[in-house]
């Protein structure tokens, strides 16, 4: 088969760039949501109150045990019927992937927090430092730098999960490629270029993560 460069240049790339904008929108909005919500879940899971701790643990297990595709379908198709709340495909994608990854990131944070020696909490108590300030100034600055590589891996993983949004008709990179392939029967050009686009962006992200790890990966450099 001959590779159609003209078609690739005129049709595939513009469409994929449109899809890229959507993919990046979802990733860039969902990941910070996952970062913040994951941290909140981690802290709630360590609450002294059992009626906070237990439900949060259960919710995290529930989210981690169901596929994101099922969660997407549920929020996009079932929630409007159940409570009348209809979200756009983009918002659904951001919310579902954000919450889904928050459950995973909470495990990453947990590992980082567990690695902070107990003596650090005790020193903070002996100095009478309030619990919220202990979290903010003493525990998290030590817990987060070592888990930057793991957080970065989830950023790349979330980015690579955006094609699942095809299921709710969001025009991200793979949906665009599939649409072109179906209309012009030039699947090879469309899907290959989509794959290359993911490869370039994922590799670029992993370089960024490595840089962040070098720059902030040691506890001493944080403050």
């Amino acid at each position: 088969m001959d590779w159609d460069w003209q078609y690739t240049w005129d049709e595939v790339l513009p469409a994929l760039l449109d899809g890229l904008v959507v993919t990046l929108e979802v990733t860039v909005l969902a990941f910070p949501l996952a970062l913040v919500l994951g941290l909140v879940l981690t802290m709630l899971r360590r609450s002294r109150r059992w009626y906070v701790r237990h439900p949060v643990r259960w919710v995290i297990e529930f989210i981690r045990s169901t596929p994101p595709l099922v969660q997407l379908f549920f929020v996009f198709y079932a929630v409007p019927l159940l409570i009348g709340l209809r979200l756009s495909a983009l918002v659904t994608g951001v919310v579902v992937l954000g919450i889904h990854y928050a459950a995973y990131l909470s495990e990453v944070y947990r590992a980082g927090i567990d690695a902070v020696p107990r003596g650090q909490w005790e020193a903070a108590t002996a100095l009478n430092i309030a619990r919220a300030h202990t979290w903010r100034s003493i525990v998290l600055p030590q817990a987060i730098p070592p888990v930057i590589p793991a957080l970065g891996n989830y950023w790349i993983s979330l980015f690579k999960d955006t094609p699942t949004l095809l299921a709710i008709g969001l025009l991200e990179i793979l949906t665009q490629a599939q649409r072109l392939g179906a209309s012009d029967f030039k699947y090879v050009e469309a899907i290959t270029m989509a794959g290359l686009m993911f490869l370039v962006l994922a590799y670029g992200s992993s370089l960024l993560v490595r840089y962040l790890e070098r720059r902030y990966g040691t506890v001493e450099r944080v403050v």
Partner: protein, 270 residues
């Protein structure tokens, strides 16, 4: 901890003492580390606690610093109950607010320093005065630099703990605790994690503190020479109880009880 009548004799603070343990019991599972412990410490007293490992010495300090709670009895610090608070004439278990107000009276230096590794020496010392006492940065740094000067580390203000020796880290930890200006300072085997050649510099700081301040100091230590030189009173702790106590002279030269003699013989041989 049970409720009790605040005015009962067992619970009423005695103004002569800054720290009191009244029939305090504490156990970890099956192991009882304090058995009906009674202990009084006078203001400005320098009390050394010695005894074999696992005898419960450190637990006394951890209970005072509110790092471990108690199962029964009363602990009184500076005329107020530590683990209880008064509500409608009854003593009830203390809440976090009460514990926080009591912690302002106490400071603790740990065996393993527990400095915050992501902060410089200066920031380690200013963090609590700024966030807890509400000092502004300039005031807190001035206080911190005075303390660094006192512990002989003026030039290490901007170093992170990882760039300091063990002895230097421990001196920063002492300065950090002093920055909160506690009435009672607790020292938990502060030289036990140090290389032998670094022990002296830390003990010198403690000596200076003992000589120049009227702060109450409770020192758990294995440094017998230091205890003998600095303490007003030495307490030999064994099996969750005070086995023997007295002046350093009495404990180190004429101990009465066999267990004390055996312990001192064993440690002084090394």
């Amino acid at each position: 901890m049970a409720q009790s009548n605040a005015s009962s004799d067992d619970a009423r603070p005695d103004a002569r003492y800054i720290v009191e343990f009244r029939k305090v019991s504490k156990s970890f599972g099956e192991t009882q580390v304090c058995r009906q412990l009674d202990l009084q410490v006078e203001p400005a007293e320098k009390l050394a606690i010695i005894g074999p490992s696992g005898s419960g010495k450190t637990t006394i300090l951890r209970v005072l610093m509110t790092l471990e709670d108690i199962q029964s009895g009363y602990v009184i610090v500076d005329g107020e109950h530590l683990w209880h608070m008064e509500r409608r004439g009854k003593l009830v278990p203390a809440n976090e607010k009460h514990l926080r107000s009591m912690r302002t009276k106490l400071g603790m230096v740990f065996q393993h320093f527990n400095l915050f590794p992501h902060m410089t020496a200066l920031r380690n010392i200013t963090e609590a005065p700024m966030s807890v006492l509400g000092l502004d940065r300039a005031e807190a740094e001035e206080r911190a630099r005075e303390l660094l000067d006192m512990v002989g580390l003026t030039d290490k203000a901007d170093e992170h703990p990882s760039r300091l020796s063990g002895g230097q880290q421990q001196r920063v930890a002492i300065a950090r605790a002093l920055a909160m200006r506690p009435k009672v300072m607790l020292f938990d085997e502060v030289t036990a994690a140090l290389d032998p050649e670094l022990v002296g510099e830390v003990l010198n700081v403690l000596r200076k503190l003992a000589e120049q301040t009227d702060m109450t100091m409770i020192i758990v230590t294995h440094e017998m020479g230091f205890a003998r030189e600095v303490a007003d009173r030495v307490l030999f702790f064994f099996d969750g109880q005070i086995h023997e106590e007295g002046t350093p002279e009495k404990i180190f030269t004429e101990p009465e009880r066999e267990r004390t003699k055996a312990f001192l013989q064993a440690v002084l041989q090394h």
